[in-house]
Symmetry: C2
Subunit: 586 residues, 2 copies
């Protein structure tokens, strides 16, 4: 790799540079040529980033030309038109040369519909996130799904797929394999084999599948060389890799392995595998760092089986709520009984003993998929979290007067739904007023609404988040004042009940700086963003300095969904960044 990178960095002309990268961007040497001024490239990752930037900054027509330079999937072009050797190879890996007649016809139909709708061919990196080739059905499903997108979105998605195609081609050209990234990816794939429900991924607290996950994680930690690995009193799987001085402080890290219903494979879990594989590398090299590494695979974060969100990390902070033990699941099983059935002590004493002494730890770091669209859209594999947003949630109802849709003149209505409509748009405006604030009206319902009745009631929810508690509260005030104004103006009343208030957890500056240094060292730009979602780090924030690293998710960062996706290359960069952070502490 260093050899080719050296030649690129010392190339004397754009043409010479482009020649070295011929075929990376399909029939489009202008992309590589335009990256020439960005030399020297510290890493392959920075070259990839520079190429993506060239395309981002190119005029729309050039972007479209790049897309159109690509062949159709399994298209007649495969026969009639000269494909690059790369395209032929890739479509072959995906098995597209061996389509059934029906699949072939489906693909032709999809090709035609897609071209008709968007005016450019459908582009998909058929080698997929693991570079191993997507299945034919998966390709057809993706195609079908993407046909529903808007033109602007698909144009951007095709370019992202083109970058992924280029990434895989560059890896091969450079003889690079994201080995640890693939290990993380494969762990996620294997762990997803355990589920409460056949056919989809659902792992809730202390079910059979959950305990199978525990056992698997325990085994992996042992295999990776952790000195100690155990299931703790609440079911967390805790691995310890001792430092050169066994009494030295420890770095605490980890994330959760429970899932929502019909989940993706990376939410939480990637933040277990990345440190696990980093420790494996230390162990393989026979290295001890001057500090210990304690990895916790948290048993419960999602609050699915019991309303006890962040149960796993709460045990470490001393925040386990005693009343949780008496909560029942849908089958009436109390948490205490579930714990005992899982071989846990199920006593507050044992749980209390899991509380960590902050003095024994350096801090807490967590790697997590972004679960949002930002990094995906910006073509950035990694992002540095500035703060876990504070949030407030409300459930409310506007009460007006149900009346006849035909006989009630417009100026004599007290329409509850119109008030919620105004409110939802006011939430959007208020959130947009400052960066990093978000506001959502996720529930909107006119109960028993009828086509010909002016809505007398309208239920709604509010979810308001901001990186600091004062910004969160300011947003809340703006929204609630506006609600009162709307109700007054329209002659309506309303109820509004707060159902959740979570404090923001700003990253500890020195720990955030370590992630930034790690990302920089990989040759990638430092992109800072808040975390809109809650994470275990939010709990650990109560007792330790913390900072998080985000990893780009595919499909616009969709999460809590089987489409959740991370590439082997991005996982590799996460492992590299984690190892760099360890070195900074050494």
């Amino acid at each position: 790799m260093t050899d080719l990178l050296d030649r690129l960095n010392t190339s004397l002309t754009p043409g010479e540079f482009a020649a070295l990268l011929e075929g990376i961007y399909e029939h489009s040497p202008w992309v590589t040529e335009a990256a020439w001024p960005a030399r020297p490239f510290a890493t392959l990752a920075s070259l990839k980033h520079a190429l993506a930037q060239v395309v981002r900054e190119a005029p729309l027509e050039a972007q479209l030309a790049l897309i159109r330079a690509h062949p159709e999937l399994a298209g007649k072009a495969m026969v009639a038109r000269k494909l690059t050797a790369e395209s032929t190879h890739e479509q072959g890996v995906a098995g597209l040369a061996h389509c059934s007649e029906e699949q072939f016809e489906t693909l032709q139909r999809l090709n035609a519909a897609y071209n008709e709708k968007f005016g450019f061919p459908f582009i998909l990196a058929v080698r997929g996130p693991r570079s191993a080739g997507l299945g034919r059905q998966e390709i057809i499903d993706t195609f079908t799904r993407r046909l529903h997108h808007s033109a602007a979105f698909e144009r951007a998605e095709c370019l992202r797929q083109i970058h992924r195609i280029a990434e895989i081609r560059l890896n091969e050209r450079f003889g690079i394999e994201p080995v640890q990234g693939r290990q993380a990816w494969d762990c996620a794939e294997l762990l997803a084999g355990h589920s409460d429900v056949e056919g989809v991924l659902t792992v809730t607290y202390l079910t059979e599948a959950h305990r199978a996950c525990q056992a698997q994680l325990l085994r992996w930690m042992q295999d990776c060389g952790f000195d100690d690995a155990r299931v703790d009193a609440v079911g967390n799987v805790v691995g310890l890799y001792r430092g050169s001085d066994p009494q030295a402080k420890r770095l605490l890290t980890g994330s959760h392995f429970d899932t929502v219903r019909n989940a993706g494979r990376y939410d939480g879990r990637l933040g277990i595998f990345v440190p696990m594989i980093a420790v494996r590398e230390l162990h393989r090299a026979g290295r001890r760092l001057p500090f210990g590494i304690e990895l916790v695979a948290f048993a419960e974060e999602e609050g699915q089986r019991y309303a006890a969100t962040f149960l796993g990390s709460s045990a470490l902070t001393g925040g386990f709520v005693p009343a949780w033990l008496d909560q029942t699941d849908v089958d009436g099983t109390t948490m205490r009984v579930a714990m005992e059935a899982a071989g846990l002590p199920g006593t507050l004493q044992a749980i209390g003993a899991e509380r960590r002494d902050p003095a024994a730890y350096l801090g807490f770091v967590e790697v997590h998929i972004e679960q949002g669209p930002v990094l995906n859209e910006l073509d950035l594999p990694l992002g540095i979290v500035t703060s876990i947003n504070g949030s407030r949630r409300f459930l409310g109802e506007v009460i007006g007067t149900a009346s006849h849709a035909g006989t009630t003149p417009m100026d004599r209505r007290h329409d509850a739904a119109l008030a919620v409509a105004e409110l939802a748009l006011a939430v959007e405006r208020a959130a947009k007023r400052e960066p990093d604030r978000v506001g959502t009206v996720g529930i909107v319902e006119v109960p028993q609404g009828s086509i010909n009745v002016v809505p007398g009631r309208c239920r709604f929810s509010l979810d308001l988040r901001a990186p600091h508690d004062d910004a969160r509260d300011a947003l809340t005030t703006e929204v609630t004042v506006e609600l009162a104004r709307i109700a007054e103006r329209r002659g309506l009343r309303y109820t509004l009940h707060e159902t959740l208030r979570a404090a923001a957890a700003p990253s500890a500056p020195d720990w955030q700086a370590r992630w930034e240094a790690a990302v920089s060292a990989l040759g990638l730009p430092v992109h800072r963003l808040p975390s809109g979602a809650g994470h275990d780090a939010m709990k650990l924030h109560e007792i330790l300095p913390q900072a998080m690293l985000f990893v780009r998710g595919g499909h616009s960062g969709i999460s809590h969904n089987p489409l959740e996706s991370v590439t082997d290359d991005d996982a590799q960069l996460a492992v590299d960044a984690f190892r760099h952070l360890l070195e900074q502490l050494a």
Copy 2:
């Protein structure tokens, strides 16, 4: 009556005038004094109207003073403060002097809460719509309900109640009893004794209760002197009062006696009783008009048991849809079987024979409650319908991208509910742009909406109406163009399916003029308004000139609800107007 009216009309000073009306407006002779310039009054109705106008046009402070001049209900004031003889009498009629201790305490609590919220006492015409006195529980229920209103609404409602109190006092002062109005009211009360469901009023097509109503209507028509009364092939009850020339053309009139579920007592039915009682008066006087009167109590208008709205009137226009016979109700009973069980032939031949020959009729008139707030708010007992609005209805869904409410920045969302929010407000704006147009988004729902998920889908409905088809279509175009714009701007797609398109039925000018003349003759202002709801007249419009008269409904004209209300005085005016219309044709 004439005597007192004469004295009022010839009173020389406002003081003299007010003295004659002392006590009509509680401790507030200024109301009557201010009506003095409006003399002469042709009728008691016009005096009542003039008094209401004085209050409408009075400054807010004077209106509040009028309200505050009234005693609390069952208040300590009954003992401690001097009540007018009228108030003492009225509260006595309502049984408020004989409250149980619990009821008395409830009323005190309500009085306190009401005064606290609004700053004026709760006013209710405790003699009620039949002038006979409301029950104590009914008073407490009304009180409890009205506590939820806005201050502006309650101020207006108190003034309306004050006018009703004044109306009843004036009737007694003038020795006037709305005899035919009470007959109509009592018929409604009696007919409401038949219901498909215990405890609420529900009468759907050809049920046992429905057939009991038929039998009752048949008996009443016979008792009122109709020459012929029969149940026709679809279950309509048809009465004929022959003209002096039995071959003469007939006036067709009537309305429906089926109801929605949990209905009010006047919707449709008032339009049967008013002509019935008018005929009774003709019969009592031994009078024959030069034309026949054919009254049809339509068996089906609401489309509740079967999706066959306007079935009753369709039989008269030849619009009965043959496929209706094979429709099934929720129990799987076909309409044909239901007809046979009800003793009807259940054949298309028999139904076809009910088709009317337009040449045999002068036209169709229908009296109906307004089912809207306009007349109630304007203190007008009667209104003249200009057109039955044409309407179009749609069901639609906006499809965006469901995403994490925390992690999806505001500028990267495709929120389906926000598009529907914009649409609903656009519908409101578009409808308001021209008089008499209405637009409603009655169904709004984010399916499986979650507090922390950006809505990926949002279902909605559209109901658009206008007095003419071109205005209705223009409104539709405005709204659908706006929907397309919103979806384009927000990167969303949508579906939109038309579920109903009904043509407008403008009133025949000469028939509308007859109603106007009748209302004028009663000493009332002519107020024209469109009908937002559909009515049997809309069907008859296809074969005959038609025009409708609206009667004010209480409680802001609420309909399809047990609170639906009409006063004996307003029903009397409707009978008077109908009789006047008959005289115009004589």
